[in-house]
Symmetry: C2
Subunit: 368 residues, 2 copies
């Protein structure tokens, strides 16, 4: 079943899920109000904390990452949120804030460029903000913002909650939550965790939980106060996606078997390999130099290839690949600029896997 019809998944998420992980998810079902489940959650919790270098609670939600993005603004924005927007997913966070009726202001940065600390400082300085949303890794453009630099600025504003969407970086990039002072750092299962989609994770600081208790209109499903109450009993407020949590526990064990430092190094190496390959092929890298993502490389198609055709031909070779983020390519086309396509290298991707993928790309590109 695995090999015959299936194309290896190299779209920017969901990414390929290995057979052992899928098998872990397929274990027999258990009740979510039983000791078996509490044992499972109690096993997951310290592993997620270790992964994020944090003492904060790290919770699992049965939802996509978007659900926890909504949780962040609903629970932690009282006055006004600053949304740093430099791509589609950071823009989405702004849209979510507006949909939730929260006063929100955009810090807009050209797509392909990073959000710089001084820009955030200039905005926060104007006052009135009690939260700032940053998307660590913009999947749409391949830009990775520098959380270390940004955190230094945010720390200057002790009443501002630091909210980070790490959807496509967590699990592939070292994020030291406590050192960075992140109040809520969220991600979903189908990117660098290489799990099936359907669950999301978030570390939440103690001061964030405290603040949530004072914010009205938190709703029910994404109410951090209720999530926390259940979390302290190794439970969830409502029936969770148990099978995906089996997979998470299994996958986290594999993370530590690989070693976290080795894992971060592998992702950096894969990114460098991909950038070097793109350079050798005569392509350019889309992101601003110094801010290239470690989990996904966004490439400018300087050759002006037919990207749809490239995608089809890669499909014939057994690889499901990206032909660029639609909105970005539409905008680039409108400006008469070269389009982009993205190569993800996250999760369980090995050097050998990437080498196979790039070889296939080369063959296709030669023909095109």
């Amino acid at each position: 079943m695995d090999k015959k019809d299936h194309k290896l998944l190299y779209v920017p998420g969901p990414v390929e899920v290995k057979e052992d992980v899928r098998e872990a998810c397929a274990k027999p079902m258990i009740g979510h109000r039983t000791g078996d489940f509490r044992k499972l959650y109690a096993s997951i919790k310290p592993k997620l904390k270790k992964l994020l270098y944090t003492e904060n609670a790290v919770m699992v939600s049965t939802s996509s990452g978007s659900g926890f993005m909504e949780a962040a603004v609903k629970n932690l924005v009282g006055k006004k949120v600053l949304n740093c927007v430099n791509g589609a997913f950071s823009k989405k966070w702004y849209d979510i804030a507006v949909a939730c009726g929260k006063p929100a202001e955009k810090l807009e940065v050209e797509w392909g460029k990073a959000v710089k600390p001084d820009m955030i400082d200039a905005k926060l300085k104007t006052g009135g903000f009690d939260a700032v949303c940053v998307t660590h890794n913009e999947t749409s453009t391949g830009v990775m913002n520098n959380l270390g630099e940004i955190s230094e600025v945010v720390k200057k504003y002790p009443d501002v909650m630091f909210l980070v969407d790490a959807v496509s970086s967590m699990g592939g990039v070292k994020i030291e939550v406590d050192k960075l002072g992140i109040d809520m750092c969220l991600a979903s299962s189908q990117k660098a965790f290489a799990l099936p989609p359907g669950i999301a994770f978030a570390s939440v600081s103690e001061r964030a939980f405290k603040k949530a208790g004072t914010i009205p209109g938190r709703g029910y499903y994404f109410d951090l106060v209720e999530l926390r109450k259940a979390y302290d009993k190794d439970e969830t407020p409502y029936t969770p996606a148990v099978s995906l949590m089996y997979g998470l526990d299994h996958q986290l064990d594999k993370f530590f078997k690989e070693g976290l430092d080795a894992r971060w190094e592998r992702h950096k190496r894969l990114a460098k390999t991909t950038r070097d390959w793109a350079g050798r092929m005569g392509f350019q890298i889309f992101p601003e130099p110094g801010y290239e993502s470690i989990t996904i490389t966004c490439i400018v198609d300087t050759k002006g290839m037919d990207l749809k055709k490239m995608q089809e031909m890669m499909g014939e070779k057994g690889f499901s690949v990206d032909k660029g983020y639609r909105k970005l390519n539409e905008d680039l086309a409108a400006k008469g600029k070269k389009l982009t396509f993205r190569i993800p290298h996250m999760g369980d991707t090995s050097d050998g896997d990437l080498s196979d993928l790039l070889k296939a790309f080369e063959e296709v590109i030669k023909v095109l």
Copy 2:
């Protein structure tokens, strides 16, 4: 792996998930913005409609059923909602409405009794309501409300949205959504669908979608307007739990292979078998006569057994069973009444499976 450590799951949800279903969920991953996914969703949609005897859209959410309960009140309550409360889960719906800041009024009925149409009529007659929430099958008490009778009353109020929680009945009991005029009928995967938990389903009427468009504060994740836009393209607004949707598609095929009428008959037969068995054992049935659930039987322990011990001994025999809904038993104990325990008979449970389960119960009860 399957048999050695695993107790067969006979708690009132999640229920046992058969191996073929778990294997279906374990198929290789696909992208959610690909033709492969659109094909999957397009395959599921007509099957869910057929299951619910409806022309309405039937959508899949990556959440528990509680998520869609929140969606119902958030999107479809403009003025005031009437919450018919005769157990823990109908009470939960009221709590969700309050958490979402919706004016809500309870119609409270003693736990173990059904909500009667004339009670609803008397409340709706007082005016000001634009929605009524009914829990079809109260998992906590084993009471199944009569949707046919209730729908006749609700139809008298054309501005009132008819919202039905069918979490533990849908897929095990015939629910003719269009005939009943249900505006939103929701359920989750881990009960009579016998799937792993993590996704929920809801039929939504056209007039409900229209109304949702006029209701402010719908939020993001459970916004029916956005869910519908994506649905019409065989997509979801955000990354869905693809592996669980594989399982859903597989399981729905099995429903139709069994035949819907045969499926409804099987569930009725299992319920009767369980009630008859309880009677022969000298137990009483907790629900009001005529309103006994078809998917779960709530039994009054007239023998005054040690229910915790019963649960432990059943565990030793390889069955994970219930020892009664805690809040119900606490209330009964406070009144000096006999406690309850519940036997679910839904999903893939066969006559043979139930017979094995009841035999084990008999052996344990003899010892106790």
